[in-house]
């Protein structure tokens, strides 16, 4: 069983309403009538007011669209749906932002790009896959879950990643790499990325960042916890220091990669250790099979003395 939500179908409804009704209040009333009939959701008045204020009307407002998408996903989860596919997502919309107090079960596939804050506050069992790119704030303040991004993520991926007494943090794989300040202020969770921008690990207090891309610049400013693994040549910012990998680090890297063993086609992961430090994997977003000799990597940890 899998529910497919085609965002273009929502767009057609809005366009048709826009072609027949020009009054925003009446447009909104009609949208809610049709959305209730077809999807069982009702949008709050606030989305109407915000849409008119920001976009001059209701039918062309991305606020309407993104609220509708998130409401439909939430409704399907409440109804017991555990597999969802979103078609024609466009990166214009902030989707995948749900607000469940308890951990939900959901496998979600988004067939394209997502906008800002995809997976913010997420708390789920399952895997969410983005077939395209993700904008700022991927999995912001996420509590639990596993997210795969097949393209890029821009800034602030996995920031505020939460590990609390009730949550483990979110595990994220970004296949084409992410930009600045990944894992900023993270308390937990794991990020495996093929490139990370300037100031990644900013104020990090927990969690693991494994960068398998090019060496990064000024990682870990003000970090007080957690660990970053990155190729030699990566520089540490103020408050962080570079160290060599220990036996324990090899087991941390192994367990971090284990989360994405299937997605990265990792070979003989169980054999990976300080004595056998080469990992072979296939990131299909890149051109060939990649081999990583972890002796070429360093770790970045808090520089407690200088703090």
């Amino acid at each position: 069983m899998c529910y497919i939500l085609d965002i273009d179908e929502l767009g057609i409804i809005l366009k048709e309403i826009g072609s027949k009704i020009s009054n925003p209040d009446m447009q909104f009333e009609r949208i809610n009538t049709l959305f209730e009939q077809q999807y069982g959701i009702k949008l709050p008045e606030g989305t109407k007011r915000a849409s008119i204020e920001k976009f001059g009307d209701v039918v062309s407002s991305p606020l309407i669209m993104e609220r509708a998408i998130n409401s439909i996903i939430s409704k399907k989860v409440i109804e017991g749906e555990t597999k969802l596919i979103i078609k024609n997502p466009r990166s214009l919309y902030r989707i995948g932002i749900l607000s469940f107090d308890k951990t939900i079960k959901l496998d979600l596939v988004v067939e394209g790009n997502v906008g800002n804050f995809f997976g913010a506050f997420c708390n789920f069992d399952g895997t969410w896959t983005v077939k395209g790119n993700s904008e700022n704030g991927l999995a912001d303040k996420g509590y639990k879950g596993k997210i795969i991004v097949e393209g890029f993520a821009t800034e602030l991926a996995c920031q505020n990643n939460q590990a609390t007494e009730f949550s483990t943090g979110v595990d994220v794989l970004i296949k084409k790499g992410c930009m600045e300040r990944a894992m900023g202020q993270a308390r937990g969770g794991r990020l495996v990325t093929f490139g990370a921008g300037y100031n990644s690990g900013l104020y990090m207090s927990g969690g693991i960042l494994l960068n398998l891309g090019l060496p990064g610049e000024l990682f870990g400013p003000g970090m007080v916890g957690g660990v970053i693994y990155s190729p030699q040549g990566t520089t540490a910012a103020e408050g962080a220091k570079i160290d060599n990998l220990s036996i324990e680090d090899y087991s941390i890297i192994r367990e971090t990669l284990r989360v994405f063993e299937k997605e990265l086609y990792i070979e003989q992961l169980n054999d990976f250790s300080m004595e056998n430090p080469v990992i072979s994997l296939t990131n299909k977003s890149m051109e060939d099979v990649q081999k990583y000799d972890m002796r070429d990597f360093i770790k970045i940890v808090p520089d407690i003395v200088s703090q």
């Binding site: 976009f55 890029f152 084409k176 100031n199």
Partner: protein, 292 residues
């Protein structure tokens, strides 16, 4: 949360390149970031009316609570003496006029509202050229009116334009410094200081990359800006990279030539197929693209 974008041909092969159409798409994809005002600067050096040495002064004039854009051609060759020429002096006295800047190869258009409103009024999608920049503004400091909309230009040097996302925290200090040197300002927006600063630098040494470096050193606060001249497009980020700035490349096809694009959001690059060689511009650095 402003949205900025720019586009430039890799080589000067086609002055009829659909710059306006592509900028429109990029801006529309970033509209969710900002809705207060929109503006573009588009360059076309094949425009016969601008092929002589005379420039046009672009300005906004308030007519019954609405702003209209006007251009007035100079009848003699202007010596860009910090905006103190006769035309500028005359228009400055009119309280309904807001001066935008001198243009030769650049078409500067801006207004309050969404990009679709701008297109409805000025048909920006039909504007061709070699390169251009666009801006979507959400006001943080100065008023929401066309004079505070981007791009910002100057009356000191024609065809320079700047769009900016962020905040110049020491704006007052930089503005005072430039006003003491005699440069005129026409808005209360912090972003205007970037354009004037760059012009001041260019008049001193003529080196655009050095001008950007100087600005990065002198300016405080979070910023990313795109600056354009009649031959260049530059993407510049503050020392800490606190505002986004992404570059991508479209290799072209039989239907259109190869070009570079830059924007705040990745979606803006993706929507025009500039999704090769995608990278964030380095913090504290400028990326300058030149069209020969």
């Amino acid at each position: 949360m402003c949205g900025i974008c720019g586009i430039i041909l890799e080589e000067h092969t086609d002055s009829n390149f659909l710059v306006g159409e592509l900028l429109y798409k990029m801006m529309e994809s970033q509209q969710v970031r900002a809705q207060d005002s929109a503006g573009v600067a588009i360059y076309n050096n094949d425009d016969t009316c601008q092929s002589n040495s005379f420039a046009s002064l672009a300005y906004l004039i308030k007519c019954e609570n609405e702003y209209e854009m006007r251009e007035e051609k100079t009848t003699t060759e202007i010596k860009y003496s910090k905006g103190s020429d006769q035309l500028v002096s005359r228009l400055r006295e009119d309280e309904n006029v807001s001066i935008m800047g001198y243009t030769k190869e650049m078409k500067l258009i801006k207004n309050v509202g969404l990009v679709r409103d701008l297109d409805k009024k000025y048909n920006i999608r039909s504007m061709n050229g070699t390169h251009g920049i666009g801006h979507l503004r959400i006001a943080t400091s100065s008023n929401v009116d066309p004079s505070n909309a981007h791009p910002f230009s100057t009356t000191v040097m024609p065809d320079i334009a700047v769009v900016h996302n962020g905040e110049i925290a020491n704006y007052s200090k930089l503005r005072n410094m430039l006003e003491i040197k005699g440069y005129p300002f026409y808005s209360s927006c912090d972003s205007e200081v970037i354009a004037i600063f760059l012009v001041d630098q260019l008049l001193q040494h003529g080196d655009l990359e050095k001008a950007h470096s100087e600005f990065i050193q002198k300016a405080d606060g979070p910023f990313t800006y795109i600056a354009s001249t009649n031959r260049t497009l530059s993407l510049v980020r503050d020392k800490f990279g606190t505002r986004k700035g992404i570059v991508g490349y479209n290799p072209g096809s039989d239907a259109y030539p190869a070009f570079w694009a830059m924007a705040t959001d990745l979606s803006a690059l993706d929507i025009i197929g500039a999704n090769r060689e995608v990278k964030a511009a380095s913090p504290g650095k400028s990326l300058v693209f030149t069209i020969e």
